[in-house]
């Protein structure tokens, strides 16, 4: 196994010593007797001493956190190595029994089980190392002295990329595959959530999403198949983003895909926005395309072509551009009441943002669903009908899952 608990613990001790040194220097500055000092420089030094001492002491915070992380990882690694040693002893004993004369074939099932357990323990140990590496990177990225980056602000919870929650084992059994149950969270991945919602509008899409996720009872997580230029790539996912997408208020299919996309794209890329025609191929493995429209040009969308695409089995996501300085514009839309009649209402249309397309009417008006989901602040969730005029004015891009 790579990685030595002793070496990691030694590194933690070294880093802690430097943190202690910085903390001690800050304390020394704070308690230094400078009242008897005289002159202009002494006056200036006295005035600035508290700030300097605070700065010096603050330099100790990140190394101390890094030392705690490494010390904790050394303990976890030692525990994992102890478990692995026990399983290896079991395997050796079983192997000796198997090759003895006469061979004891009854040990074969336990040997196979032990092999699986060993593979799982080694896999989880590697993932633990990656998680610690992520946390160390977050310390650097949130350090005001490195790269000029300070996010989140001092004293706030760790970066959103690192806040995760466990995924339950029954998500595939419990999932409704209903786009109306989906809610985007605090991550800027509307293009991805809307693409998943669009796929959930057909049985074929539901099946594709289901087929590309497998529960692994040994590792207690999900294997997710995504595609890189049409080639399948598998990711192991056992946690969802804490502030991420949900279904019916709990982690669901979209949460699993969001976590896998985070691995595929990296969190920074996932959260930095994107386009549905780039996202569909990653999820489906099939070619996708987009249709664009000049919202300021005066020409209308060819919504007849969009209707044809829908009737050919393609799933569509429509995206707005920047709609106003404050990110939203009020428009009047139609929504079906409980009797099926269209009723006008005013909603906030957000942009830039992606909406799943639920239908296109012959008059060019378009049914869309906001990935923010049920009860959201802008439109309350569910499908609403955007007039052809407003669709021409605010929507500049339609991504298609492709029809083949």
């Amino acid at each position: 196994m790579s990685g030595s608990p002793g070496a990691v613990r030694a590194a933690a001790t070294t880093i802690q010593a430097s943190a202690d040194g910085a903390a001690s220097a800050g304390q020394t500055l704070r308690t230094l007797d400078v009242e008897s000092w005289q002159g202009w420089a002494a006056t200036r030094f006295r005035a600035r001493r508290s700030a300097i001492a605070a700065d010096v002491a603050e330099q100790a915070a990140d190394p101390a956190a890094a030392a705690r992380l490494l010390a904790g990882w050394a303990d976890q690694m030692a525990d994992a190595d102890a478990e692995i040693a026990v399983v290896q002893d079991t395997m050796r004993a079983a192997w000796r029994a198997l090759v003895a004369l006469p061979p004891d074939l009854t040990v074969l099932p336990s040997l196979v089980r032990a092999q699986r357990t060993l593979a799982a323990l080694r896999f989880l140990r590697e993932r633990g190392a990656l998680h610690v590496a992520d946390q160390l990177f977050a310390l650097i990225a949130s350090d005001r002295s490195a790269l000029g980056l300070t996010w989140p602000p001092d004293g706030w919870p760790p970066p959103q990329s690192l806040q995760t929650v466990p995924l339950g084992s029954t998500i595939l059994d419990d999932a409704s595959f209903d786009p109306l149950d989906v809610q985007q969270g605090g991550i800027g991945d509307c293009y991805m959530i809307a693409s998943l919602m669009a796929l959930m509008q057909s049985d074929e899409g539901d099946q594709l999403l289901r087929d590309n996720i497998t529960w692994d009872p040994t590792l207690q997580g999900y294997w997710v198949t995504l595609y890189d230029d049409g080639d399948p790539v598998r990711y192991f996912v056992d946690r969802a983003q804490a502030g991420g997408a949900r279904e019916g208020g709990a982690p669901g299919i979209v949460s699993i895909y969001e976590a896998a996309l985070k691995e595929h794209l990296t969190f920074a890329d996932l959260t930095n926005g994107g386009w549905p025609d780039d996202t569909f191929p990653i999820i489906t493995g099939h070619d996708a395309d987009e249709v664009t429209h000049d919202t300021g040009g005066g020409d209308p969308w060819d919504t007849g072509a969009l209707r044809t695409r829908l009737s050919n089995g393609e799933q569509l996501v429509a995206s707005t551009g920047s709609v106003s300085d404050d990110g939203a514009v009020k428009i009047t839309v139609d929504r079906r009441d409980t009797d099926g009649n269209l009723q006008p209402e005013t909603v906030d249309l957000h942009g830039p943002h992606s909406y799943a397309v639920a239908g296109v009417e012959p008059d060019g008006s378009v049914w869309v669903i906001n990935p923010w989901g049920a009860g959201n602040s802008a439109d309350g969730g569910g499908p609403f009908l955007v007039s052809a005029a407003d669709f021409n004015l605010y929507f500049g891009n339609v991504g298609s899952s492709g029809g083949d």
């Binding site: 989140p152 509307c190 923010w372």
Partner: protein
């Protein structure tokens, strides 16, 4: 109790005390700002938050802007949902 969250522009927060969506964020001559849609439709309210100028939420709590992610990041805001006792929050 104070709750500190970070939300990307174009994304939302669904909490027990409040639901909100961040419509835009950035910095202008007056400093960092975030435009937030607070509450559930159709009772939601659009608020332009500034540092040091909290917004009073229903139920007596406040919404404060903690910061806007520096350049180089997708606009992301840090928001603090807390008690209204600290200072005079605008309704």
């Amino acid at each position: 109790m104070v709750e500190r969250i970070t939300v990307d522009v174009g994304a939302q927060y669904v909490g027990a005390a409040v639901r909100l969506a961040v419509l835009s964020a950035g910095s202008d001559e007056a400093g960092p700002y975030a435009v937030v849609l607070v509450g559930s439709y159709p009772e939601s309210t659009k608020v332009r938050l500034r540092e040091g100028a909290p917004h009073r939420l229903a139920g007596g709590r406040t919404l404060r802007l903690g910061g806007v992610a520096p350049a180089g990041y997708r606009p992301t805001v840090a928001l603090e949902i807390g008690d209204a006792s600290a200072d005079g929050a605008a309704p």
